[in-house]
Structures are given as C-alpha cells and as structure tokens.
Amino acid sequence: MPIYEQAYRKYEARAEPPFVRFWPITREALRLVLSKRAYIGLMIAAFIPFVVRVVQIYVVTRFPEAGRVLPVDGRLFGEFLNQQIGLTLLLSIFGGSGLIANDLRTGAILVYLSRPLTRRDYVLGKLGVVMGLNLAVTLVPGLLLYLIALGLAPDMFVKWSLAWIAPAVALHSIVISLAVSLLTLAVSALSRSARVAGLALAGLMIGLEIVRGILVAMTDQKLAHVLSVQTDLRAVGNALFGIVSSRGVVVPIVYPVVVLILLALGCLYVLRSRVRAVEIVT
C-alpha cells in the first residue's frame, strides 16, 4: 500500500497541556540517563558513604566506647552530606553535561520551543533531571540515614533537641543539589558538545580548587576559600550542622552564601541568554 493511502485518525479531543508542563522533559531525560548501566553503577557507588555511615551508627550502638573514636551525633549528617558534594559533581558531569549541549547540537531545542512550552518550562524540565539525580544521593540517603539512626539508636537521636537534623539534612541537600545542578546546566548551555561541557565543568571545579589552594598558600587570606564552590557548600553544611573545620578555617558564613547566590544568578543569566529558539549573532 502506498504511504499516502495509509491514514491516521483526526485528533478530536484537544486536551489542555498538563499543569506541570516540564514533567515530560524531566521524565524522558531521566529515562535516557538511567538507561546507561555505567551510570547506574556510579549511582550505586555514590551510596557507599551511606553504607559506611550506617555501619558507623550500628557499631557505636553495639559498642558505645567506639563513640569516642567515631562520634555519632548531629554532625555525622553534615559530614556525610559534605562527603556527597564530590559525588554529586561526578554524577552531574556524567549525567547532566549533555542535557542542553546535545539539544543545541542536534537542533532538538526547536522541538521543545515550538511547542506550547516556555523557555522556563524547558529549563525547569532539565533542572529537574540534575536535581533529581543529585537529591537521590543527598536528600534520600540523608533522610534514610536519619531514620536508620532513629531506629538503631533511639536513646541517642529520639530527642527534641535533635529534631533539627531532618530539616537541616533537607536544606543542605537542596542547597548542594541546586548549586551543582544550575552550574551543570549553565556549562552545558555554553557548549554544543556533552564531552566539552563535562570537561569544562570538571576543569572549572578542579581549577577553582587549585586557585583557592594557591591563593591561600600565598596570601593566607581566609576569604580566598570562597573561590571554591565545594568549599562554599561545605561551609554551608558546617554552619548548619555546627561542624568546626578540622583545618581551623573559619570564614563568616555570609561570604559563602553570597558567593553561592551570585553563582546561581550567574547560571540563570547564562541559561536565559543561551536557551533560545533563535540564535542571534550581532
């Protein structure tokens, strides 16, 4: 049968788009990312620190004297989340660096933006992917760890004085995930190649860490610490969970917070100027 003899039905019911217009974008991108076995392996590996912390809590409940070496209190959660920062970066580099870059390369951005979707919907859809992946290795294990701690060591954790832990875990997880996700998308939007974007993101993180180290060594200025995004995120965690840095570095929390806010605004600006259906070169 010739192709023009084949028909498709006229679509009569013209449904209103779903309220959450960005959800199909998030769902399909997550499906594509999670279809890679290597990525699933990486996500499983990101749960190793969680398992270590569960063992730590278990050991301390069985052998209280171990608590002197491995203290189990609210700070444990902050240290755990600070450990996860590096892993969220790794997951974002492999899972998020191509999210916008690939669309720019293959022209798929037009498929999205010629639909009843705004640029905000598109960015929210992509942000949902990286946020989802990052929250899966911060918020989910963080809250799970808290629940396990309540179950294994009720005499240590079932106290009103420690009820702040769950909200603090949620807040720190969201801060980490949002900062890393926005940075990932902004870098992805600056390139048409997922590999280049991934390398640029890794280079940016490592580069800033190196610059921070050099400046601190040369000038001994504590303020130089805010140059590193990881250090800023750790500083937020330290402030939330009352952790005193082992290196004795104390930067007023306002500086890292301001840097993270500026970073987020910068990323939003990049996304606003790069996510367009029409590339205007003047």
Binding site: R14, P24, L32, R115
Partner: protein, 310 residues
C-alpha cells in the same frame, strides 16, 4: 478545496523584524489563507524569520501579526498549540527511537501520554516509517530524518503546518515521496500549511497561494492560478541575427522578456498578438526561427517579482 475568501489563519501587517542591526523583514504585509500557501524566496529573503515570528520566537520591531485571531507575541503558547512546525535544520533527541521521539513531541504539545504513543505510531506509519519506528533517529538517513520531522509536526493534529524547506537534502525519489505526502496532507487531511521553500517546483506542485519574499519585502503574492493565469501571452522565441536590437525594441514597446536556455521567453501584454513579434523582428533585422506559445510558470512570476529579465 480552499475557499480563498475564507478568513485567513494568519495575517501580518507592516511586519518588521531585525536580528540586532540586521533587518530581516522590512514592513511586510500579507496573509496565509486556509489551504496550502507557499512562501517563496531566495536564501536570506526572510522566509524562516517570518515563520519564527509566527511561532513567537522573535518580537517584531514594528507592525502586527495575528494567528487564529491571537497575537503570537502575546499568546505564543496558544498559537503554538495549534501549529505544527517542521524546522529546516536537523532536529532529534540523541538515543531516542522514532516512536519515542514522536510520542514525546505529542506529549509536549499537550496530548495525554497514552494518546501520544498511539498517535505517534499512526503518524509514523503515515509518513512511511512504520517499519523503522523502533530504530533510534541517529541511525536514520537524511530522507528518514525529514520524515520523522514531519511526523513530529503532525502528531498533535495541528490546524496549521509550517514546513521549512521539507525537501532539503533529499534525492529525487525522496523528494517526490515527500511532495506526495504534502499533497496528501492538503487534499485528503484538509490541513492548512505553509510551505517555505526556495524550490519553485515544490511550491507550484503543492500550493494554491504564494507569497514571494525578496530581501525582506513581499515581492508579489496571491493565488498561483491568478499569478500565472492567461492575463499575458507567453512565447518562446529563437532568433537569428542581432538579438540585442530586437530585445531593446521589445523593451521600448513595454514587452517583458527573460533569457532562456535556448532563446528568449517573451511576455506580451493583453491585446497584443504574436504578429507584434514579427513586426519588431523585421524592424530589428532579425529572423524569427522558432515561435512557440507557452504558459507563464511560477518561475516566470518569481523571476519577474525578483526583478530578473527585462
């Protein structure tokens, strides 16, 4: 099938659109009536810019545009919901099968997921990709990618289909099949479309109306039948002798001509017969060796609108 007098789907008046300092459309006015309309013009004429303004991607510097009674600048989502857009350049999602891609496109247009999946399969069969719908689009040939682009534009059953250079990069057979599909969409599916192309034959074959753009201006517009109709007599002429004098004399008499591959195409105004050619030839001292009546094609209209020929 088209009622020319029907309310236009899209109208634009004095539309001016610029990319920074570069003006792409300079005060164009016109309309897309229901049915197939060709948007014709050389590269850089402003065809794609007009489509992008219609989709609300570009804000006009001046002028107004309405689609389905709505301003695309003010209500872009409502307008896009009723439009299917097949972009000129390649567009697909890496790693996605054609079925998943088209269903996803349907969902983005507001179709419920189940309906989007069901329609994706139907539309892929319709464009001739039924057997290949479980392959990833990355592995498709150029012709197949063009078809999948058409499928994603059709999946939500739009009121107006915008096809930007749909036969780009296709071999003759692929081009023929694409034109058959487009004709079928118009004639049997009763869908209105705008075919944006620099290929005259594609437009002539599939469209009823045409807007010719040149350097950001509307060079001419109207129904193809009226533009190419019998209002002027056309003759293909071959000469022996000094053609330059003959052509100059024709121009002096207000007769237009274009140079063909093997002679000249002469457009006689209403009221003139071929004897005018013989008289002019005698005066110019040339022999008419071949004289054949012809019909004015869209190519003639196009070239005349662009100022080529006499």
């Amino acid at each position: 099938m088209t009622d020319v007098d029907a309310t236009p789907l899209v109208t634009f008046k004095d539309l001016t659109v610029s990319y920074g300092m570069l003006q792409a459309l300079g005060g164009v006015s016109g309309s897309f009536p229901p049915g197939p309309t060709g948007l014709l013009g050389p590269n850089g004429a402003g065809k794609t810019t007009l489509l992008k303004a219609l989709l609300g991607f570009l804000r006009p510097d001046r002028g107004s545009m309405t689609a389905f009674g709505l301003d695309p600048g003010q209500k872009p989502l409502e307008v896009r919901r009723r439009i299917g857009y097949m972009p000129e350049q390649d567009c697909h999602l890496p790693g996605m099968t054609a079925g998943a891609f088209v269903a996803f496109a349907g969902e983005l247009s507001g179709l419920p997921r189940d309906e989007a999946i069901s329609r994706a399969h139907e539309v892929l069969y319709y464009v001739g990709l039924g057997e290949a719908r479980y392959r990833t689009v990355d592995t498709y040939s150029t012709g197949m990618k063009q078809r999948v682009k058409l499928a994603q534009a059709l999946v939500h059953d739009p009121d107006l289909l915008l096809l930007d250079e749909p036969t780009n990069g296709l071999d003759p057979q692929g081009r023929e099949e694409m034109l058959v599909l487009i004709s079928d969409i118009v004639s049997r599916r009763q869908m209105s479309l705008v075919l944006c192309s620099h290929l005259l034959r594609d437009v002539e074959r599939t469209c009823e109306n045409v807007i010719v753009l040149s350097q950001g201006q509307v060079a001419t517009s109207g129904s193809i039948a009226a533009l190419t109709g019998p209002r002027r007599q056309v003759y293909d002429v071959r000469l022996k002798g000094d053609a330059a004098a003959f052509l100059t004399d024709l121009k002096d008499k207000g007769v237009e001509w274009t140079e063909g591959e093997d002679g000249y195409r002469v457009f006689l105004p209403e009221g003139h017969g071929p004897d005018a050619l013989f008289v002019t030839a005698r005066e110019a001292g040339v022999q008419v060796r071949h004289l054949r009546p012809g019909t004015e094609s869209l190519e003639d209209v196009f070239l005349r609108a662009l100022g080529h020929g006499s």
